[in-house]
Structure formats: structure tokens, C-alpha cells
Symmetry: C2
Subunit: 387 residues, 2 copies
């Protein structure tokens, strides 16, 4: 554990079949007014909305509606949520949905009592909240982002064509999270595999950095192996509880800060993917899968040791040949798995065009924790190879 | 993740060189009177006591001394600690030491405002606290028990010859923990390896149960591999920061509830070891290592699949031969590693005698979460093979 760190994750997780039965006990800790946050309406179709509302009513709560959160929550929607919370004096923000809904709830939570413009304060100046934070609870219905047990909140500014994530402190993490794997059964296959790749890539982003032996990287390998094994069951049998529950729990730990402790992290795939997302509004996980292989092939020569370890430990590649050959075999296994899942392997299929490349490159933030700090020409090259 | 579960671990961890600099910030959250809890005085020799006291004084705290906590904290000592806390109205119990000191602090924390006899209430009747709990903070100086980030507290009743652990709820977990790997450098080698084996066995206890594929077991394998690899460096080079820091962090996660989520657990080695400890007062980790191999050899036939997985995933045993042969090879690798570490491999060297066997068997609690629920003759057989 090379670097010093602070680990603090106080989110209380209720996990398993029927976990929603714990919601009432949590609600009792907060005031009367609950801002009920959800997305485009799938929770109304699959019955989860009704189940949550009936708990809220049984607990005597006043429900304030805040639906229609889009896959990439925008600054406009954020303003709307802040207004609802202010006008109704929301005591709890209850996010019922996937990562976008949960991210949005957290962004609202730090903005309700903030007098400045939250986009400028949190996403352009990366400042920390200096105001009261409205508590957030979460009922997760889609696996992938890890937002249910972390303090991250990605917001998109459509006008500025920027999609930026701010990772806040532990005081912004959801106070509680309900994780019922059965709630994820009705997620369409395309969304399920995008979420699976998103979770896997979260681990990669934290893994592909540094070359010391540390607990974080070993835990990362365990999570990757678990995600791959369970995904292979889930794509064939989406209602396999064992597989879906493993995916749900592994995805939570893929991005709840643990595996980043004591080490540098990369996050360049997310920077590339988010820039693609700002231009195409494509599903987050698909933007990541679409740029991953060109990016990893590009940086592999700068981190051969770790890419070799990835090949051997995660994919069981035989230790035959040069380190570089073994390392490339790991990426080949990754490509095969992406094909099995059916996730996007290029950005053209997500709507990106050659003409957009310069703009996407402009929108790509450059990180410096991984094996290579990308130059502008390298970003353009990777994006072109991703077309 | 077969079973439903609640995961909640709010302990804030400050990890790394110089992590004690964060103590002041934490102290500011509590009242003036700090009960300073420590063991036999090693913290006075290595300077950690002075360092902590100077932070306490700089923060204007009133220090109430509570030293002399023994390796297996007793009910008598517990009464003493409760008295100190009551008479001085302690606002914070600050444990500076290893697992015993931290366990003791937690036992005091739930007893100060408890009107019943804590031994009877918590350790014989296994009831939960119904009183105010005094907050606990921890500065860890020895690695192994995981007590720094869990709600467990083992107490020994010498008169009744019983050593019993109670795992409380998350409200009993330390509010904060300072983990500086350099604080562990001065631990004598025998204590260091006992702590390493204790941590490893914590993982085993949670791993050797069930046969489904789950995230917890994969994380468990990652922790075991990390502990074994780092221990091999640490026994040769005790001041290797990378190794000692990995051991410290892996040991914390070996017993902070994560890898037990969604599955049954065994804990019979601890029951056997604690009974040996009640008779011999031997170092906890050594009592575990001394009974492990006879116990695991005895239960292996009932859990071949997992013992085989242990052999292959943790020890890299080649997949040649029958499942049972591969499984036994894993135990052989475990034996070799125990020899490398120099931990006890029999209870005679800890002071146990043939005459004590029946008494130790009487004191051994029988658990039912592992591969085999031991009968009385089996316990006696395992203990005799451990002589």
C-alpha cells in the first residue's frame, strides 16, 4: 500500500431478495417529505415504483415527485431537482433507479442549500460542498455504476458539450442502499451488458496503474474474475439469481473506493467514453467498451508488467512467450468476452462520426495516474481507431 | 450471494506513514475526557504512547489512564475499565495497542451504561446492548485480529475457564482507526507471525463453508494470496513497508464483515483455539495454528470442492490427480507456509497436556456453519492429534 489514504464508507447496504422490506426502518430516521427521484418510467412498468410508494405511504411520508431523470442527467434537470427540493423542503432524496438517477440525487443533495451555481462550483472548479447536504437513499434497479455506495455524481452540460464527474467526500454517499438482485431482472439485455462492462471497466481504471504488489490490485482481480464468470451465466440466463447477485455486489465494490486505496488510478477510458457520451448521448457502458481496446493496446507497452498480470490472473492466460505476448493475449481475451457480451466495440455504432473526432478530443480530459499521459495526437489516434 | 445480508461498516480508517496526524481532527468530535487504554507497556517503550499523549494534550483533553490490558482481557479487568469510565465520565475510549486492547475497549464501551453484569448479558446470553454506547477510537500497533474495524470483542472468564467472543452491531465498531504500518515494526517476530496466522485463519473460517460461486469467496482468496505473499517478505525483512502495509490492510479486511456477506461461515478453529487459550493463556494466533491442520484434515472429506479450490486458487497447486489429492496438497502447502512463518503446529508447545484435553473439549463451542458439525469424540480426536 504505497500511498497514504483515508477509507470511509458509511453507506448501509440491505442486500438480497425482498430487501425493500428494510426501507421502512430507514425512512423512520428522516423527516416527512421524501423527494422521489426516478428515470424515464421503467420503474413504473416493472412495479418497483408502486412497491416503493406503498412503503412511503405506509410510513406516512409526503411524496414529492421528481421523475424523468435522463441517462446522462443534465444541468437543466439538476436545476429542476434543486427547485423541487427547495420549494418542498425535502428531508430525504430517495433515488429509485440506476446510476444516473443516483448520481443526480447526489448532485441535487449538495446543491439544494448551495447559493452558487452548482455546475460552476462542483464541476468546473471542483470545489467541495460548504453547505448542508440533504440525505440520499437509494433503491437500485440497474447494476453497473457503483453510484449506490459512493460519492460520485456525473452531470452533463449539453450546451458546453461536457460530461464531468465529481467524486465528493463520504458525507455525500447514500445513507442507505437497497440492493435486490431481482429488481435487475427486467433490465433490457443491452442495458445489462452495458452495466456489466461499466463495472468491469471501473476495476480496470483502478487496476491499470502502478507496479507494486498491493492488496487493492488483488481484490481488483477477484472482482474482475467474479464479474466475468457471473456475466457468462447471466447473458444466457438473465434470471439466474446467483449470477445477478454476484454482479450486483461486485459492481458495488468495483467503485466504492476500496480498490483505489493506496494507489494511483487511471480513468482515461472514462474520460474518452464520457467525451463520446457528450457527443452521442450513448449509453455510458457502451461508450467505455467502444474505446477500451484501442486505448489499452496503445498504453500496453508502457505497463507491460501489469497487463501481463491481468492476462494471467484474470484470464488464466498460459505463461508462454514474451511478457508482451502474454500481455496482448489478455487483451485478446477481453475482446472475446466483449464479443460474448455483445457490447459496443466501436464508437461509429454509437453514432460518432469522423467529423466529431476533433470535438470529442477537445472534450476529453487528460488524466495522469495511469501508464501514459495522453497527448492530443494520441487521443485523436485512439478515437480514430475506435471508429 | 446466496443469503440476504446487511453490510454496514462506518469506521473511518486513516492509513499510512504518519497517519497519527489525523488523530487531532477526530478528537475534536468528542468531549474532554479520554480514557487511554493500552496493554502491558510496549507502547511506552516504542514511543507510541508518548506520541498519542502529546496529541491528546495538544487537543486539551483530560487523560484517564487505563493500562495493563492483558493479551486475553479478563472479566476482572473489564470491571476495572467500566469503573474508570463511570467514575471519570469518559467521553471517548481510545485503544492504543493490538486486538486485545481494542476488543477490551469495545467491551467497556457497551458496559459503562449497562446495569446488568456484562459477562452474563453479552457473553453468556449473547444479548445486544440496550444502553448508550461510549464511542471507541483505535490506534493499532499490532496486526491480526481485525478488531480495529469490526464490532467483535472477545473476553475471558478465568474462573469459568471460558473465552467467548461477541460480535456486536455496527454501532459498536470503532468510530475511527489509525493504521500506521510503521507502528508494527517493533512487534516481536513471534507476535508478528501469530498475528499473520490469525488474519489468515479469519479468512479461512469464512471461506470454508458453502460451495456456490460468490464474490465473498473470491475476495477471500485475494486476501489469502496477499497475506501469504507479503508474509514471506515480512519474515525476512520486518521493516519492508510494502509487506507490512499489505499485511495490515489485508488483516483489517479479513475480519471486517465483508467476506462473510451472503454466506455461511465456519469458525470452529477459533472455538478450538479459544478453548486452548482459556487453558494455556497462549497467544491467540498460535492456538489457531496449533489446531488448524488436524481440524482441516478432519473436515476435508466433507468439503472437498472448496479445499480443492483453496489449493488451486490460493496456493497454485497443479490440477493433477483426484480432487481429494489436489485438496490435500493445499493443506500441505499451508503446512509448509506455517513452518516458514514459525507458528505453533501443536498445542503441547503452548503448554497444553493430555490431561487438559477433556477440559478443553468441554470449553470448545460447536459451530454449525462449516462442512462438519463436530461431535464430542471428534473434538477430542482433533485435540489429541494437535498435541
Amino acid at each position: 500500500m504505497k500511498g497514504n489514504f483515508v477509507y470511509h464508507n458509511p453507506t448501509k447496504v440491505y442486500f438480497g431478495k425482498g430487501a425493500l422490506q428494510n426501507l421502512g426502518g430507514e425512512l423512520a430516521k428522516y423527516g416527512k417529505t421524501v423527494q422521489l427521484i426516478y428515470g424515464g418510467g421503467s420503474v413504473k412498468k416493472n412495479g418497483i415504483y408502486d412497491a416503493v410508494v406503498s412503503v412511503l405511504k405506509a410510513c406516512g411520508k409526503r411524496i414529492v415527485e421528481d421523475g424523468g431523470v435522463m441517462p446522462n442527467p443534465t444541468t437543466e434537470k439538476l436545476k429542476e431537482g434543486i427547485k423541487i427540493a427547495r420549494e418542498n423542503k425535502a428531508d430525504l432524496l430517495l433515488a429509485v433507479g440506476g446510476g444516473s438517477v443516483c448520481d443526480y440525487a447526489k448532485a441535487v443533495s449538495v446543491s439544494v442549500h448551495c447559493e452558487e451555481d452548482p455546475w460552476e462550483k462542483y464541476y468546473l472548479r471542483f470545489e467541495e460542498p460548504s453547505c448542508e447536504i440533504v440525505p440520499v437513499g437509494c433503491v437500485l434497479t440497474m447494476v453497473g455504476t457503483g453510484s449506490e455506495m459512493n460519492a460520485g455524481a456525473v452531470i452533463t452540460n449539453r450546451e458546453q458539450k461536457l460530461k464531468i464527474g465529481h467524486v465528493f467526500g463520504s458525507e455525500v454517499m447514500p445513507k442507505f442502499t437497497v440492493l435486490d438482485p431481482e429488481f435487475t431482472y427486467s433490465v433490457p439485455r443491452r442495458q445489462m451488458v452495458a452495466g456489466i462492462y461499466d463495472a468491469f471497466n471501473h476495476v480496470c481504471e483502478q487496476y491499470f496503474s502502478g507496479d507494486d504488489d498491493n492488496v487493492s490490485d488483488r481484490l481488483a482481480e477477484a472482482l474482475m474474475k467474479s464479474i466475468v464468470a457471473s456475466s457468462r451465466v447471466a447473458v444466457k440466463d438473465p434470471e439466474n439469481y446467483e449470477a445477478r447477485s454476484n454482479l450486483m455486489w461486485a459492481a458495488t465494490w468495483a467503485l466504492n473506493t476500496l480498490i483505489a486505496m493506496g494507489k494511483d488510478t487511471d480513468w482515461e477510458v472514462h474520460m474518452l467514453g464520457q467525451a463520446v457520451g457528450a457527443y452521442t448521448d450513448a449509453t455510458h457502458g457502451m461508450t467505455l467498451s467502444a474505446v477500451s481496446l484501442p486505448y489499452y493496446r496503445h498504453i500496453l507497452p508502457y505497463g507491460v508488467k501489469k497487463f501481463r498480470q491481468f492476462a494471467v490472473e484474470v484470464w488464466g492466460v498460459e505463461e508462454k512467450g514474451t511478457d508482451e505476448q502474454i500481455a496482448y493475449m489478455g487483451l485478446e481475451k477481453l475482446r472475446e468476452w466483449m464479443t460474448e457480451l455483445g457490447v459496443a466495440q466501436n464508437i461509429s455504432e454509437l453514432g460518432a462520426t469522423e467529423e466529431m473526432i476533433e470535438g470529442i478530443a477537445d472534450a476529453t480530459l487528460v488524466m495522469d495516474g495511469g501508464y501514459r499521459v495522453l497527448t492530443r495526437p494520441e487521443i485523436v489516434k485512439i478515437l480514430k481507431e475506435s471508429l
